[in-house]
């Protein structure tokens, strides 16, 4: 059994969370146990941690990347 931690802000609905878990199972297999972590610091979006492999689509990270992009020439 593999573990997957889903980190999201408190504004993620239960419906979206279920939809997300379903998509992950479809992509990576059924033997995954999900843990939901609520962290408002991510602002929006979500981050998946599947046995150390991180998939980060949080608003906080995207904003950070955009800030870097704006500073670049």
């Amino acid at each position: 059994m593999r573990n997957c931690t889903v980190t999201a802000a408190s504004n993620m609905s239960g419906e979206t969370y279920e939809y997300l878990c379903e998509k992950v199972r479809k992509r990576f297999g059924d033997d995954i146990a999900f843990t939901r972590v609520t962290d408002d610091a991510v602002i929006g979006g979500f981050m998946l941690d599947l046995n150390g492999h991180i998939f980060d689509l949080t608003l906080a990270t995207q904003l950070k990347a955009m800030g870097k992009h704006l500073r670049e020439e």
Binding site: I54, F55, A65, H69, R71, E73
Partner: protein, 500 residues
């Protein structure tokens, strides 16, 4: 920074935001398995580079130095207090870098490029901290002198631009003073300077910066500092970072002087890291690659070929010895890597000979070729004169009666020893050095006596300023001592001799 069109800022920002593509960030996360004394072991995290920067959960940054199939051993740049077992670690895919460019002049940076002087700092360009040394074909022989302004060094142990000259001696013998004076003397020479402090007391570094500021040297100097309070990783990185700062200027065709103060503390920091990483200890508990640690650093000093811009990087590494033991592990290593050494002796220092240069053990292997014609003409016999004087002085101690020839040799030698005594932060320009040595050869300093010497020398220097300014200009501009200038100087010195 981008050029923002004057009146169209919102359109510019909109365009920038439109160009930005939202993409997921995917990476592999490792876990901290042990933490201790600034060194951590990380499990997981495959595919890391040697020297890659790692980011820990608390925002602390470290560097991967030991890679194996199960994880990595890493050193932390900041305090280990906030890193806990079980914390996440991610690789950044980047190696350590330092800001370079004109805007680092006058600044005090830490080895990863953070400004330590409190003023705002916007880095313009970055260079990796570890860079390969210029290849054999990219170099040319050293052919231009680097004037330290210290008479004993410029005349007997001349340093060329692109040379590596070790300053070695016990603690409190004036090693840092020589290096700092050399930096101060570069003010009108067009040489940029980098002072790298490794494992020094913060108060000592502050004092050096104060001296450089007072001498107007910070305008062309960058200080890279990792003090004794910084982590061993920072101390390990400092010389490489400082070298990258200097290399940028060298590659722009500039002449650069870099001071590593000091490499014995650097070796100790590396030993700490290595032992904590469980690498096998060798002689004096240093790891097997401690020679490579310094050779790869000092090989980055070079005199570049004209087609590469013709810049140069002169290094003055400092090594501290214990009880005058220059045959210890680190001193012998660095002596064999460098192109000569300036050996300072505590006995000389305490007997009032400052700078306390032991001329017998000091040597410059390439600098002679780069010496100016003027200096070559007046410095030829100094080493022999000095060694004859020292030998004779030992014998003269046993009896008071000496023949007139020996008495003259002793008096002349004493004059030379006194002439080589030079105060802190008071470098001589080339012309003064040449005229002082010319005066010595004409016996102007013979028999003056140690007590009366400082006052006599001050009078002579005033005399040079008043009556020999034209000759000084010719010597400084041409770097030569033509026969007519020499004859004029000799004539004028006679007038001074008659007055004295």
């Amino acid at each position: 920074m981008s050029q923002v069109p004057e009146l169209n800022i919102s359109a510019f920002l909109k365009q920038k935001i439109e160009d930005f593509a939202v993409a997921p960030v995917a990476f592999v996360k490792g876990t901290v398995s042990t933490v201790g004394d600034g060194v951590v072991r990380v499990s997981g995290l495959p595919g890391r580079l040697y020297g890659e920067l790692l980011e820990f959960d608390g925002g602390v940054v470290g560097m991967a130095l030991d890679l194996d199939e199960n994880g990595a051993g890493a050193v932390l740049f900041d305090s280990a207090d906030v890193v806990r077992v079980g914390d996440g670690v991610r690789g950044t895919g980047a190696v350590a870098e330092i800001p370079v460019g004109e805007n680092v002049l006058g600044r005090v940076l830490d080895p990863i490029g953070r400004a330590l002087d409190g003023a705002p700092f916007t880095p313009e360009k970055f260079y990796p901290v570890e860079r390969p040394a210029p290849s054999v074909t990219d170099r040319r022989p050293v052919d231009k002198p680097l004037q330290t302004g210290i008479l004993a060094i410029d005349s007997m142990i001349p340093i060329g631009r692109g040379q590596r000259e070790l300053i070695i001696g016990d603690r409190q013998t004036g090693k840092t003073t020589i290096a700092v004076d050399s930096i101060l003397n570069q003010r009108d020479q067009g040489v940029l300077c980098v002072y790298c402090a490794v494992g020094q007391k913060a108060s000592t570094v502050a004092q050096v910066i104060k001296t450089l500021e007072a001498g107007g040297a910070m305008a062309y100097t960058t200080v890279v500092a990792a003090t004794a309070a910084d982590s061993p990783a920072m101390q390990y990185l400092a010389p490489y970072s400082a070298c990258s700062v200097a290399e940028y200027f060298m590659e722009q065709g500039r002449d650069v002087l870099i001071v590593y103060d000091d490499l014995s503390k650097h070796a100790v920091a590396y030993r700490t890291i290595s032992l904590l990483l469980h690498r096998p200890p060798g002689r004096e508990a240093y790891p097997g690659d401690v020679f490579y640690l310094h050779s790869r650093l000092l090989e980055r000093s070079a005199c570049l070929a004209r087609r590469k811009g013709g810049g140069s990087l002169t290094a003055l590494p400092i090594v501290e010895t214990m009880e005058n033991n220059i045959s210890a592990f680190i001193p012998t290593n660095v002596i064999s890597i460098t192109d000569g050494q300036i050996y300072l002796e505590s006995e000389l220092f305490h007997s009032g000979v400052r700078p306390a240069v032991n001329t017998g053990l000091s040597v410059s292997r390439v600098g002679r070729a780069a010496q100016t014609a003027a200096m070559k003409k007046v410095s030829g016999t100094l080493r022999i004169d000095l060694s004859q004087y020292r030998e004779m002085a030992v014998f003269a101690r046993f009896g008071s009666d000496v023949d007139p020839a020996t008495k003259k040799l002793l008096d002349k030698g004493e004059g030379l020893v006194n002439l080589f005594k030079q105060g802190k932060s008071s470098p001589y320009p080339l012309s003064r050095q040449v005229l002082l040595l010319l005066a010595y050869s004409l016996d102007l300093f013979t028999g003056v006596g140690e007590k009366a010497f400082p006052e006599y020398l001050a009078r002579f220097l005033d005399f040079l300023g008043e009556h020999c300014a034209d000759l000084c200009r010719i010597i400084d501009e041409t770097g030569d001592l033509p026969d007519d200038v020499r004859a004029k100087a000799e004539e004028r010195f006679k007038a001074f001799g008659a007055k004295a």
